[in-house]
Amino acid sequence: MAQYHQFDALVVGAGGAGLMAALYASKSVNTAVISKLYPTRSHTGAAQGGISAALGNMEPDKWEWHAYDTVKGGDFLSDQDAVDILCKEAVEAVIDLEHMGLPFDRTADGKISQRRFGGHSNNETKQPVQRACHAADRTGHMILQTLYQQCIKNNVRFFDEFQMIDMIVIDGTCRGVVAVELKTGEIHVFHAKAVMLATGGFGKMWKISSNAHSLTGDGPSVALRCGLPLQDMEFYQFHPTGIYKMGILLSEAARGEGAIFINDKGERFMERYAPTMKDLASRDVCSRSIYKEVRAGNGIGGKDYVYLDFRPERINKYFEADGNPRRVDAEYIEKRLPDIIEFVRVYMGIDPITEPVPIQPTAHYAMGGIPTDLDARVLLDENGAIVHGLYAAGEAACVSVHGANRLGTNSLVDLIVFGRRGGKKMAEFAKQTEFLPISQEVHKPAEAMLNGIRNNDGKEHPGQIRKELQLHMDEHVGVFRTKQGLEAALEEIRGLKERYKRIHIDDKGVQWNTDLMEAWELGCLLDLAEVTAISALARQESRGGHYREDFPDRDDKNFLKHTNVWSDNHMSYKPVRMGRYQPTERKY
């Protein structure tokens, strides 16, 4: 009954990682992309500030400095061989994007322009370095558009608005995926030699989130259901500058251009928490500092937010105080940060050129995900066995370059570098293997799952379950965590999972049933929330984005290791691959 397709390489998800993989795989094998959104709707397009690469166009820079900053930013949990690849290949990958037509901003001599970003430094002077290559504050938009354009040019086959429901994993090999075509409601079987999961993040398990509605962790949760582990799920990044109450992201590029955090007393409080890098300390440090100010009663009007100040005269005042000769004016700020200035004007009704902007930390990015090797091949266990034919890249994956906390701009670097490596490897693999058999019945579990949701007639409402999940996650699995809080969250999540079994949806139809799709996605979020809480509970230390108030220090003796967790909730650990850099105290 299901429609059947066969491709050498199949990519699930059409953001930066998926399109880069598809582009490279399609150079030599028959390649298709399935995506629940039109590719240009993917959340890569929301990335603002830049993509780092040590081009050295503005001032001296080295990829090794970028590597050290990444390892330090990750609080020494990153695998250092992966980081070396990330930072070394970033340089040629960014040039590759330029050659594809990406309209980077330019220096006076026509090169790619670069700017400062949090945690990126000159390792010798310890001062911020201009490393982030940018196209105004819509760099992600330009990456997504450029890659989609190139895929069209290369005749990549797209199945737009197809939702993956299940993956075909048999005897340690991946043989394809089962998806539903949203328009018709028909089930399609995609038989493939190589499959890549590039479905992005899962920030919608929190209420205050920078993530798109569509970011529900479909790839990681399907992998989990197929018996694969997820890695480092306790490490989730809360970006310090979300628009108050809405969570919409205001790029770190604002601080790269000189903006500062201000508390209710008018103090530039980051001077106290990060004396050298100040407002450009890493994101985990800034988010915690904001909440420490709030707890000390220094939130604006005693409330749970602070100001991000990018009024030109204030920026200049602090440049002067820092002995920085740069000066900015309103015209410059408008030109460098047009989109985020517009967001503030539209959504808050205030003008950031003349008023400070209320901000609070917002759930932003998953450092954890589907564990892979250096070629984006998915790992079956903590010993390094691989699932043949299965790949993952981008936010859905954990390679692990970001460790316990990702540096700004490195998500885009990750997409491009490991998307490309994965795409090449998929093509290589597909050329030397045959299609493995699949049964005629392979689509039945997916079909049964969807019909189960559609026809369920319980009393519970998915909208209500989602709302409660987000509130519990905001309260207990956020910037600050404790044993009691995490245990309470876990109990609530498990209660919600029970209630989820008794849901009903209103739309019983077949075609374009978003009621059904959202209920299915909620199931993904619940599964991922559970393993996030379990992983966080077990890690009795504080590192990067995971901060335990009951264990406030980093504990390298016991926890310099990656967490793997399975759907039956059992866990194991594996060592971090160290390299040139040994863990030291992390100061900014």
Partner: protein, 235 residues
């Protein structure tokens, strides 16, 4: 505040023709229209269908006709949309309706693909970036902002009358490359846009520029492409 929503509904599995669904929603003035639509879907009637993703005006999923004017539902606030306590929401015009506010985007993307929306330059680029001056980069900056939401194309009377007109969005995409100093495909694109279903269908009604949620000067971009066709020069 309480807002009365009138939303055009159509379910291909049940309805012979569309009808108005009416819903009272409790919303803040500073909420997005999209937030209110989510309230309808999550709390009142789960059968309402619309596309949405990023919810802050960058992915281009939720173009709709709101009180008779194309907008992104996530970029229009309740206080700016509400008229006499009411907000009327319909699918964008000129593309076939599939279900409720969801239209078939395929004709729109077919026009997009027709203009060869990718850099054409077969010379060997070398190991470093191709150089481009800030002035050359600025020449096509405005058209790089396009998110392919279709607000412009589906507000254009010429497109409503003749769906084979490539439409403003595709012309903006062509403009983005024609005026990029690194591109060598201008002649091929101008051939496409000089055809009867190309730029000459534009009657400078300016609807496209007025509704663009990215504030792109769409009509100006179309004018520049027309000028390039007439003069044979790109400047």
């Amino acid at each position: 505040m309480k807002v009365h929503f009138k939303i055009k509904r159509f379910n291909p599995e049940k309805d012979k023709k569309s009808y108005w669904g009416e819903y009272d929603v409790e919303a803040e003035e500073s909420d997005r229209v999209l937030d209110a639509l989510q309230t309808v879907k999550w709390e009142i009637d789960g059968t309402l269908n619309f596309r949405r993703s990023c919810a802050h005006g960058i992915c281009g999923s939720d173009a709709m006709r709101i009180n008779g004017r194309n907008s992104l539902a996530c970029k229009l606030l309740i206080r700016d949309a509400v008229q006499g306590g009411k907000i009327v929401v319909e699918p964008i015009l000129g593309l076939p309706v599939i279900k409720d506010l969801i239209v078939d985007m395929e004709p729109f993307f077919a026009h997009y693909r027709a203009v060869m929306p990718y850099l054409i330059n077969d010379t060997e680029p070398g190991e470093r970036e191709r150089l481009q001056s800030p002035e050359e980069r600025a020449r096509f900056d405005d058209s790089t902002k396009c998110i392919l939401c279709a607000c412009c194309t589906t507000s254009c009377p010429s497109f409503w009358v003749r769906g084979d007109y490539v439409g403003p969005a595709a012309i903006v995409q062509a403009h983005r490359f024609i005026f990029d100093s690194r591109d060598q495909g201008a002649a091929k694109r101008l051939d496409v846009l000089g055809e009867p279903e190309g730029v000459w269908r534009c009657r400078t009604v300016f609807n496209c520029s007025e509704v663009c949620p990215r504030d792109i000067q769409v009509t100006q971009a179309i004018g520049e492409v027309k000028a390039a066709l007439i003069t044979g020069r790109i400047d």
